[in-house]
């Protein structure tokens, strides 16, 4: 069984919000209608987004690290938002595990947003229906696009390749390997929701250098002393090589 998901590498994310704007651009332009904004240019702008990049400061000055944390629907394997939906508008696709909302069935009761511990769902204030990340379901299967472009808009946009996309149930997929090899983890494991999206932790790159490695053992200068200065009549480097 396929379970499509994103793997987000916190070691690489620089917090540029390109995934946010790209997501908004793609998903506000699609057949499912706009992601409505209110007062976009006013004093108090607000709007519907599928994806947000948040910033956290870890540690205490001066030993701090800034962690940029992109957050979207995690497409849980056991999504708590789905069974509570009274209309069946919220559902998890069998074929690829994507959790979706049928905007034509949603009554806007907000109960699913209460049932999501991650705050991944946002109601569209104009259309009055619940919205959330679709993993760009209208893009990843579009055979009109070149195969390399059949990825979620956020993945396409990420300039540092911090976002990977694939099937976490396929042990050989790029996402499964990334999770396995880089200690990928899920958010809020205490609720048993089994999020499909995973995050890769910050990694320290340490290079261990021993003192003796700083000096060449076979240092010819050390063995032979300073080489004598060549005489003026000897050929120079320019004479023996042709550039």
């Amino acid at each position: 069984m396929t379970q499509l998901a994103l793997v987000i590498d916190l070691n690489v994310c620089v917090g540029c919000h390109a995934c946010v704007t790209s997501c908004k651009e793609w998903n506000t332009s699609g057949a499912a209608g706009p992601l409505c904004d209110e007062n976009p240019y006013g004093a108090d702008p607000t709007g519907t987004f599928f994806n947000r990049v948040q910033t956290f400061e870890v540690g205490q000055y001066p030993n701090t690290e800034t962690v940029h944390f992109p957050k979207s629907c995690l497409h849980c394997e056991d999504p708590p938002c789905v069974p509570v939906c009274p209309t069946g508008a919220s559902y998890k696709r069998k074929q690829d595990g994507i959790v979706l909302v049928d905007y034509d069935k949603c009554i806007g009761c907000e109960y699913c947003s209460w049932a999501c511990p991650y705050g991944a769902r946002e109601i569209d204030m104009k259309q009055k229906v619940m919205k959330k990340c679709t993993l760009c379901v209208d893009r990843i299967y579009d055979t009109g696009l070149p195969e390399t472009d059949r990825k979620p808009a956020c993945v396409m946009a990420c300039p540092t390749s911090a976002r990977l996309f694939g099937d976490v149930h396929d042990p050989e997929s790029v996402v499964s390997k990334a999770i396995r090899e880089n200690a990928g983890y899920a958010l809020m494991p205490e609720w048993g929701t089994q999020p499909a999206n995973h995050y890769l932790p910050r990694r320290k790159t340490n290079l261990k250098i021993h003192g003796d490695e700083l000096e060449r053992v076979d240092n010819p200068l050390k063995v032979d002393g300073k080489l004598p200065k060549p005489s003026k009549s000897d050929p120079t480097l320019d004479d023996v090589t042709t550039w």
Binding site: H17, V20, N39, D44, P45, T46, G47, T48, F49, R52, V53, Q54, T55, F56, E57, V58, G59, Q60, V67, F69, K71, P80, V82, P83, V84, C85, P86, T87, G88, A89, K105, C106, I107, G108, C109, E110, Y111, S113, W114, A115, C116, P117, Y118, G119, E122, I123, M125, Q127, K128, V129, Y185, A186, L187, M188, P189, E190, W191, Y199, P201, R202
Partner: protein, 323 residues
């Protein structure tokens, strides 16, 4: 959570309606076994009509909670998994039963359906009343479970939630029944007021128990589990938006800590202490029963507001700092 007034009115109004119906049928059951004088059909009939009015009020209020009320019929489809869907089915079913019960009383259409060997006979109204009672409890269960089933809203995730919906609705309904009978059958208002005192005391204990429990809850989710970084000092610097979002509007009650501290004793006083005192006095002075019902209803609105506001959603961990 941000308390939604549509849901506050829905739960308090149907609670009073359900409790009133239970009170009326309790009286009829007592009377059936000769423990109380049987009242006229009109007493039970118009009482059911009053209960129905409260239920209709609640149903109307519930529509204001929906973004797309014209699609509300769809919400009856997922009864296999969703307590909200179950409530959507049970509420109209219960309203139908209250209507039939009242109609059978008022029209006098009450054929005897079962006669026991002892000579005790059960007519149509008794059968409808029993089904209505079961549906009333089913509705309390559905309403309570809508909140109690959400496991990470730990203030709600407790059997006390369901118990308190039953007891608070029962208390409100029995006080309403005492008020109703004081005006149409004064001799019976003591029976209702007596039961109202007992149920209000139980509700006081139940709500007190849930307040005691919630004051001792330790959050399971922390910023550490929310972003998966195991460090004791994590501070949010930006939530990713500066103008607010659905997440900042729907999950924070937006009131000060002082307000939260003040509303708790206020609703305990209004919903429990004052109604109990007024009920005790009201057995002698029926005029006070009306005051008791209104004071308690205001108290229940505050209680329900606090019930929602106190629930701390784990998503709030992600929305702490605008920047």
């Amino acid at each position: 959570m941000k308390p939604a007034f549509s849901v506050i009115f829905l739960t308090t109004l149907i609670g009073a309606g359900q409790g009133l119906f239970l009170a009326l049928f309790t009286h009829q059951s007592y009377a059936l076994f000769g423990l109380l004088p049987m009242q006229s059909d009109a007493f039970y009939g118009y009482g059911s009509a009053l209960a129905l009015l409260f239920l209709i009020g609640g149903l109307v209020a519930s529509f204001f909670h929906l973004g797309r009320p014209e699609r509300a019929w769809r919400s009856a489809t997922q009864w296999r998994t969703s307590w909200l869907s179950r409530e959507v089915i049970v509420l109209p079913a219960f309203m139908g039963l209250v209507f039939l019960y009242g109609a059978a009383q008022l029209s006098g259409y009450r054929p005897v359906l079962v006669t026991l060997p002892s000579g005790l006979s059960f007519d149509m109204t008794i059968v409808l009343g029993v089904i209505g009672t079961l549906l009333s409890f089913a509705l309390f269960l559905c309403t309570g479970m809508i909140y109690a089933c959400l496991r990470f809203l730990r203030e709600w995730h407790s059997p006390l939630t369901v118990i308190n919906y039953i007891l608070l609705g029962g208390s409100s309904g029995f006080i309403l029944a005492a008020l109703y009978s004081a005006s149409v059958a004064p001799s019976q208002s003591g029976f209702f007021a007596g039961w109202a005192i007992i149920i209000t005391l139980l509700a006081f204990a139940g709500r007190g128990a849930s307040l005691w429990r919630n004051a001792r809850l330790k959050p399971k989710s922390t910023l550490q589990t929310a972003i998966g970084i195991k460090h004791p000092h994590i501070v949010q610097r930006s939530m990713g938006a500066m103008g607010g979002s659905f997440n900042t509007r729907a999950f924070f009650h937006g009131k000060s800590a002082a307000f939260m501290r003040a509303i708790k004793p206020a609703f305990l006083l209004l919903a429990f202490v004052m109604p109990l005192a007024l009920l005790a006095l009201g057995i002698l002075t029926p005029a006070l029963l009306g005051v008791a019902f209104i004071v308690q209803y205001v108290g229940l609105l505050a209680e329900r507001w606090f019930f929602f506001a106190q629930a701390n959603h784990p998503q709030n961990l992600y929305y702490q700092t605008i920047g």
